[in-house]
């Protein structure tokens, strides 16, 4: 009997046992779809978090006040009693002191109520310098950003982030309008482009004013000389650690600190946030992968069961076919064809379902679902292999029995 005939016989057997074939295909299908979905969700979360952190700005270092050490707890103060000053920022901007730092943006911030006509909106007001837009990797959608002139002159101007502009002015163009903060009227000179769909939501809800305006006219108090954060941008990702060291050395010098344990500032790199987040999401992916592997295993055991039962109940058929002149090889091939047809159709349908459900789920929960080719292939291989092993092995054993022995089996 040639291969073509064998394939026809196998297909005939698959077709004539619809329920059994259907269940086998279903088992494989669900296992594979589950793997694709769960791994996809984990990878999606990982990708989203990476993008969110990247959207903070590229090659970013954030200098914050205070330092947490085991001996002294949190040194210095967060917020009002910040240990960082504009002088620190100016020093770090020096190409001589810190050649690997490309741009520096000191910032103060506070939650304030913004009023524009009848609209009222509470958001974060950030006082900073023109470099902020570069360091934080933002772009201006309309109007312009702050200039050095604005900072020197304490100009009463504000740049709104997209959501803030939307909340205050709706679809109207915000540029040229006036916003009142703490009784000070500020004229809107620009609106920022959205930070991107994956960014943290409040990146798009803030109002940027010149550092001097914030210090002198809006916030007052300690913020007159001190700043809460200094954003640094390294020349490139390769010089990030050099920039880190230069900043640490210069700040220690300026603050008269001799031992690193006494530092009254903390430098966080975007990379370190990323690493922490990545390791967290990797744990998530491993967890989801584990769940997926278990679902694949359960599906596999299901397929194994159906295959074993179906072959066992067909040992009589194998005996009869042998009695009519089938060689063990032909029997093996027939069952190989059957198991392959079931395995492959289950596999293909499972991949289809996994991908479609993944895309659907991504829409539904507005979170990316990443289809991993590796997980897909792995799941496919495992499911098909289980089908083949448990479909073909018992059949090939039965094919070695004397025909009458096989015919008599229950």
């Amino acid at each position: 009997m040639n291969w073509w005939e064998t394939i026809r016989t196998g297909l005939e057997a698959v077709r004539s046992h619809r329920l059994r074939s259907g269940l086998t295909v279903l088992g494989i299908l669900i296992g594979i779809a589950a793997v694709i979905l769960t791994v996809g969700l984990g990878l999606g979360a990982q990708q989203q978090i990476t993008q969110q952190i990247n959207s903070l700005g590229s090659n970013l270092l954030i200098v914050g006040p205070g330092s947490s050490t085991s001996s002294s707890g949190i040194r210095g103060g967060f917020g009002s009693a910040s240990t960082l000053t504009e002088t620190d920022a100016t020093a770090l901007a020096s190409k001589v002191v810190a050649p690997d730092i490309a741009a520096v943006a000191p910032a103060v911030q506070r939650s304030e109520s913004l009023t524009a006509g009848a609209s009222n909106w509470t958001t974060t007001v950030v006082g900073t310098t023109p470099e902020w837009v570069t360091v934080r990797a933002r772009t201006v959608a309309s109007g312009r950003f702050l200039t050095t002139q604005d900072v020197t002159d304490h100009t009463a101007v504000v740049v709104l982030a997209a959501t803030t502009a939307q909340e205050l002015f709706g679809p109207r163009d915000a540029v040229g309008q006036t916003v009142t903060v703490s009784g000070v009227p500020l004229s809107v000179i620009g609106v920022l482009s959205p930070a991107g769909s994956t960014a943290v939501a409040n990146e798009d809800d803030q109002a940027i004013v010149p550092l001097s305006t914030a210090a002198e006219r809006l916030f007052g108090g300690a913020t007159r000389t001190s700043v809460q954060n200094i954003y640094l941008q390294a020349q490139s990702s390769n010089t990030l650690s050099a920039a880190y060291q230069e900043a640490e050395a210069e700040l220690s010098n300026l603050h008269h600190i001799t031992t690193p344990a006494n530092e009254d500032f903390t430098i966080t790199s975007q990379q370190s946030i990323l690493n922490t987040a990545t390791s967290a999401t990797q744990t998530l992916t491993v967890l989801l992968g584990g769940i997926a592997a278990i679902s694949l295993l359960v599906g596999g055991v299901g397929v194994m069961n159906i295959m074993l039962v179906s072959v066992t109940e067909r040992i009589r058929e194998i005996g009869l076919r042998k009695a009519l002149g089938a060689t063990p090889r032909v029997i093996r091939r027939q069952f190989l064809v059957e198991a392959s047809v079931l395995g492959l159709s289950g596999g293909v349908l499972g991949v289809l379902l996994g991908v479609v459900a993944g895309l659907g789920l991504a829409k539904l929960i507005s979170q990316p679902v990443v289809i991993s080719p590796l997980a897909t292939l792995g799941a496919l291989a495992v499911a098909v292999a289980i089908g083949l092993v448990f479909g073909v092995y018992p059949a090939s054993r039965a094919a070695r029995l004397a025909p009458i022995e096989a015919l008599r089996s229950e």
Binding site: L320, L324, G325, R400, E405, L407
Partner: protein, 244 residues
Amino acid sequence: MTTDLFPTLQFPLLELRDVSKTYRSGSIQVQALREACIAIREGEFVAITGPSGSGKSTLMHVLGCLDSPTSGAYRLAGQDVSTMSEEELADVRNRQIGFVFQQFNLLPSLTAGRNVELPLCYAGVPRAERSARAREALARVGLAHRVEHRPGELSGGQQQRVAIARALVTDPALILADEPTGNLDSASTTDVLNLLAELHTAGRTIVLITHEADVAAAAARTVHTLDGAIFDDTGVHQGSTHRA
């Protein structure tokens, strides 16, 4: 002892010498065949009778290469079956032997036509020829109108006739039939016996198991089995060690 038993030129097609078959289920042993000896020449029509459980079916299974004896030798067309490979055995079953089982053994998922075609599939006969020959064989057993029916949709007697058609379809030299008329009415029995007689006239060797004396009478030679032994062989050549 049997070496000079066949002085004639005619070669025995089937030759059993001291064949025993013992079934073991747990500690219980059942000896279905006890040192059975029989020789059947080409073109013979032999009926095998005997009480239920006397080993008739077991004998047929050994003759049809469906089971191997526990001891003793079986030569088919001069060749020792125990030395034949799986492939050779499959080929013998496929081309030389047509088997009618006591329990029909039809595949329930296939139509009568496809069931009859099965041996032809394994013989590598092209599809068109296969279905033509299957229809022809079914027509010979009077089931031309049931080609597309599945075994579950047929009566016991009709299923038996499908099984007979399947045994005929390859045009084998040897037909082994285990109670082929067991489920048939007298008219159908006559039809089947006529069919077997026709095949016998055409030169086929036929071994037929039956309980009915008038069916056995259709054969030229009758062999009896009792308690696993073959005896009272009315043919020219007797081969039993259990001659009482």
